[in-house]
């Protein structure tokens, strides 16, 4: 009996050993065919829903802003300032492990906007939009020679970044941010009256439309597509509904400018950061009104006679989603990939840069949010999708944050890329199942 038992256990061990050999053999073969992504064991400290994983594909770039990914998985990065005469980086993963192996650059100008669309790369400085033809490998054919599509856009320091997106008909939609907080005669000065009307809106504080096939366009050739938008750093064309969506940075300093009407706690939370769907000719109401997410109403701005309660702006559009104040929605992306579960299809990802105007209250944001969509409308509450970028629980000042989400892009396999202009990292979020 005993020897039979021994024999049995010996054969079990042998079988197990053979099985292990077979499995590892298979694994190695698979590895050679299709290298696995080097997903971080701790997700690089980023909290994502169960089944998702995170890679940090590169680190310590100089202020990467928006990003675009081509059909081959190469990443184009717009830098806030050109470094060594390179304002655009092209990052390649040569061995398929997800991590960047090769970095090259071109484009001697800083900026924020960058989009890969079909056979072209588009990028913006704070005054112009350029177009670069791509070759069959998704690589810019001639980095030194770009078509200047748009020029002479207003850039007066505040809110100067020209984020943009494109529709399916070859139109470009560009943010021309208001060079002002609330259209006061002296910007941000206590007691300085507001302009009536706000003349900034003639050439800024809105979204302008241009063509992607005409060179050297400026205001005369463009169309003010929507107005009353203070600064929309996030824009995306929703291809399923064929509509423009934008994320606005709401006004600052309610309490500093009007301490009798707003205490610091209220001012930290107001006004809402807003997601709008935009139709041609829309007015979102800045600077005359702001949106209060708690009262769910458009409130007359105190510079224009408001008291924190009076509603106004009947003709102004309402947001489709209102978020807590000052979290700085810097990028918007409608997810069209197939990698993520059904819930995420056609929904909106929003990269929040993180607040500063909540001081002395603690800062908020520093995360990527998700809004589920059905038939072109939000189908549920917004939620935090990826969090922990700041690297610590309580952030008093934004300079303490390790990473600040700034740009979003979708890879050809459906991965979601997140750029960070504080730590200079680019994260790739994948669904593992």
């Amino acid at each position: 009996m005993q020897s039979r038992k021994k024999l049995n256990s010996l054969s079990t061990i042998l079988m197990a050993f053979t099985f292990v050999l077979m499995v590892t053999g298979c694994k190695q073969e698979a590895k050679q065919e299709e290298p696995t992504l080097r997903v971080s064991s701790d997700n690089e400290g980023i909290d994502v829903p169960s089944g998702f994983g995170v890679l940090k594909v590169i680190d310590s770039l100089e202020k990467p802003r928006h990003i675009g990914v081509n059909a081959q998985g190469g990443i184009y990065v717009k830098l806030r300032e050109a470094t060594d005469e390179k304002g655009i980086l092209y990052l390649e993963d040569l061995d398929g492990d997800g991590l960047i192996d090769k970095t090259s650059g071109f484009g001697n100008y800083g900026g924020t906007g960058i989009v890969v669309e079909k056979d072209f790369l588009y990028a913006s400085s704070d005054e112009e939009i350029f177009r670069y033809p791509l070759d069959a490998n998704g690589v810019v054919k001639n980095p030194e020679s770009a078509d200047t599509l748009v020029t002479g856009l207003i850039s007066r320091r505040a809110h100067a970044s020209k984020s943009f997106t494109l529709d399916k008909q070859g139109n470009i939609y560009v943010n021309i941010g208001a060079y002002s907080n609330a259209c006061q005669v002296e910007d941000r000065a206590i007691g300085s009256p507001a302009m009536m009307p706000c003349t900034i809106l003639d050439s800024a504080g809105g979204v302008w439309q241009f063509r992607n096939d005409k060179k050297m366009q400026s205001y005369a050739e463009g169309l003010r597509y929507a107005t009353g938008l203070r600064n929309v750093v996030g824009l995306d064309w929703n291809k399923s509904t064929d509509k423009l969506f934008v994320t606005q940075h709401g006004r600052d300093m309610l309490s500093t400018l009007f301490p009798d009407l707003y205490d610091t706690k209220t001012s930290a939370d107001l006004p809402a950061e807003t997601l709008y769907v935009i139709e041609e000719g829309d007015d979102a109401g800045w600077p005359y009104i702001y949106y209060d997410q708690n009262l769910k109403a458009k409130i007359l701005a105190p510079e224009y006679g408001g008291d924190g309660q009076k509603t106004a702006g009947e003709d102004a559009i309402d947001p489709v989603v209102a978020f807590p104040g000052h979290m700085a929605p810097n990028a918007l992306l409608f997810y069209t990939g197939e990698m993520f579960p059904e819930k995420y299809r056609n929904g909106a990802f929003i990269a929040f840069h993180g607040s500063w105007n909540r001081a002395p209250e603690k800062q908020e944001g520093f995360m990527v949010a998700f809004v589920p969509f059905k038939n072109g409308e939000p189908s549920g509450d917004w939620e935090i999708f990826a969090n922990g970028f700041a690297g610590k629980e309580v952030i008093a000042s934004p300079s303490e944050a390790k990473h600040r989400p700034t740009g979003l892009a979708q890879g050809p396999d459906g991965s979601l890329y997140v750029s960070d202009d504080a730590g200079g990292a680019i994260f790739r979020i994948v669904y593992k199942g």
């Binding site: 000065a189 500093t256 301490p259 008093a396 934004p398 300079s399």
Partner: protein, 160 residues
């Protein structure tokens, strides 16, 4: 403050070692000159602490929202107040920025900052002196304070 404290100690030590016999020690310490020195230290300390907390009040109300509780500012938007010549250096330039604001894109610590800083002409000379002295001696900074008279003179010279 530490200089005053140290010299006071030296005076006391010298006094007890050289000037007085052991039996005279008590008497010597009670001498008016010495008492005056001892009492003088506390009010100076109190006055400085008080003006720092007065300066902090002004900072919290008008400056903190942009320059942040730790003076670190906001990357790309509002410059830090830590270790920069604009805060620690020329008094007139600092008072000028507080009074008149700044929207010309000063390069501070290799960074560019795009938000406009409004002027604070409505603050009193005393409030500006307090807040300027506060930021020159907070967040790890250390520089001589600015008094109300100096602010008054700078303000007059700017409005010429």
């Amino acid at each position: 403050m530490s200089i005053i404290k140290n010299s006071l100690l030296v005076v006391l030590l010298c006094g007890s070692l050289f000037n007085c016999k052991p039996s005279d020690k008590k008497k010597a310490l009670q001498e008016p000159a010495n008492e005056a020195l001892i009492q003088e230290e506390k009010p100076i300390k109190k006055e400085l602490t008080a003006s720092m907390s007065e300066g902090k009040k002004v900072y919290d109300q008008y400056c903190l929202i942009c320059h942040q509780p730790d003076g670190s500012g906001v990357p790309g938007l509002n410059p830090p107040l830590i270790g920069t010549e604009y805060v620690l250096g020329d008094k007139g330039r600092l008072v000028g920025i507080i009074l008149n604001g700044s929207n010309e894109g000063l390069e501070i610590g290799g960074g560019d900052y795009t938000n406009a800083m409004p002027g604070f002409k409505s603050l009193t000379d005393k409030e500006i002196a307090l807040v300027a002295s506060f930021i020159r001696n907070s967040f790890g900074n250390s520089a001589v304070t600015i008094d109300t008279k100096e602010v008054k003179d700078f303000r007059a010279s700017f409005s010429l």
